[in-house]
């Protein structure tokens, strides 16, 4: 009983501290993220290009869209 109460007390403190940290660092983290990200894709949780860079490169989503659009234009021209 005492252990359970102690654990729940610690869990509440950790959650409270986490929320506090989120509201302190959230806006700052957001500013840093936006300053390095090219675009933000709203369904995606992280800024597109930065996310791709972190995952080890690949084609950024917007470039893929441009490529697809260009290919389609070329196909139609053919």
């Amino acid at each position: 009983m005492t252990l359970a109460r102690s654990l729940s007390g610690t869990a509440m403190k950790v959650v409270g501290l986490g929320l506090f940290a989120f509201f302190i660092f959230g806006p700052l983290m957001n500013l840093v993220l936006w300053s390095v990200a090219e675009r933000w894709y709203t369904p995606v949780q992280a800024a597109g290009d930065l996310w791709h860079a972190l995952l080890g490169g690949g084609v950024p989503p917007h470039r893929r869209c441009h490529d697809l659009a260009r290919n389609e234009c070329l196909d139609r021209a053919c």
């Binding site: 501290l17 989120f22 302190i24 959230g26 957001n30 500013l31 936006w34």
Partner: protein, 254 residues
Amino acid sequence: MAAGFSLYAAFTKDGAFTLQHFAKAFELYSTDILFTLVIVLLSTVLIAAVAIAISGLLTLSETPWLIAILKQLYRWPLFIPFIVAGQCMRTFLAKNGLMNNTFVSMGILDPSQTMSFLDWRGIVITFVWKQAPFVILMLAGAMASIDRSTIEAARNLGASRFRSLFEIVLPQVTQTLLVALVLSFVTMLSVLSVPMMVAGSQPTMLTVDMAFRINAYGDYPTANALGVISYGFTAIAAWIYLRHNLAQHSEAGK
């Protein structure tokens, strides 16, 4: 001298005394005057609540790791200028901002339930975020310097931490809390960047109106009249502080 000149310009037209500029300021911006007062007062109350809670935790908590982490966390916004804080909040509190995205990804909110806080709530949140650390810094310092034996005596006699905070600790640091809140009140009243960046819509704060009168119309007299109204608010805050200070001094002298 600059304050004196703006005061003179607010009350005169072609060298003669007039209240015309004040009439114009009230006619055009009475809603904004009320809005400014409500926003700043609400922010001050919330800052006081947050500062008392965090300072109380720092002083009375018996969990060393919590105190150590909290001490490191709360100071960060102190070093951020208001304009950067405004920009941070603009993207953090937006409908598709980091806050809503985080809550959606955690399953706390559905995307359709998200809402933008870029209005009066955004201004209040930004002011609390930016100014609460300043008040906490002053209040926690004052709480740390009080005689701990009074707190320990209360705790030994069975007082809860909550009761010790409100009946033993807070009465000893009221002066410091009041100074910090008056300084925060005056600072928030003079911020232009936050209301401009966070909530562009009407109504807005007096600082934005003053900037608009000058930049759009070159209308310095009305801007000065709005400035004098702001002085009025700060004068009331200073009067409350001085009255409290004098009452405490006279009590101490008895």
